[in-house]
Symmetry: C2
Subunit: 157 residues, 2 copies
Amino acid sequence: ARPRVGYFYTGKTGKQLFADKMKKMKVEDYQSIPVVVNENVSVYDAIVTMFLEDVGTLFVVDDESLLAGVLSRKDLLRASLGKQELTAIPVNIIMTRMPNIAVCYKDDPLIDVAEQLIEKQIDAMPVVRKTEKGYEVIGRITKTNITKAFVSLAKED
Amino acid sequence: ARPRVGYFYTGKTGKQLFADKMKKMKVEDYQSIPVVVNENVSVYDAIVTMFLEDVGTLFVVDDESLLAGVLSRKDLLRASLGKQELTAIPVNIIMTRMPNIAVCYKDDPLIDVAEQLIEKQIDAMPVVRKTEKGYEVIGRITKTNITKAFVSLAKED
């Protein structure tokens, strides 16, 4: 029988323990609620939504609530420098659109999403559910979620 | 003598190994180069600098190169919505200023900085050196650096 000492020797190195533990951290345990806007809203309204909801990334959906695009604070800041009236430009003019959007799923290891955020130089990724028509947005993973996960690693029991 | 098997039993739990390892990760090993602007530059020039340098946070310094303020993408987006001419407003009107700026030092554990980023709801913190006159900015820690550190934990030898 296994001795009841609160820990036991697995024969694994610290490196393996780390890698195992991190692979068990799943997207659904760290994701935030997504904030979405319809593709026909104005850039001005999107900026207001971003401030009201206090998020750095908005997901854009079509009339069927399927993922159509992503808007970052950087996209909106760039648009705000232009000469056009922000209430007159719909977000679908300036958003990053499918198929150029990186997505993830609730069962993905968080570490894989973290790697993609770094590699693609983006701040956030939508967590999606695939349907016949397209992607439904069910969550949001940002560098803030990853930072919280990093902190939790040092603290958890 | 310690057996030469590539690993050995320390009597520590996985939790302790994690906490120990993470406390050894120091700011100086993960920081980025800071991007600074003088407090008299215009909001417009700051936004241009942010795009040219591709950073999400600028640090503002006075004529003695000492830390005077912080500008986030959010601060600049808010300013860009106003009616004023962006080339006519100096950044020191809209920046977060001392003493309301959280700073860190190169020897600080990265985990402590990560916790502060979460707690204070900010994206970045200047790494400073304290002098008699004030703080010199020597680095920058962002949620991107924390995300990279998180990825490195799973990969390192």
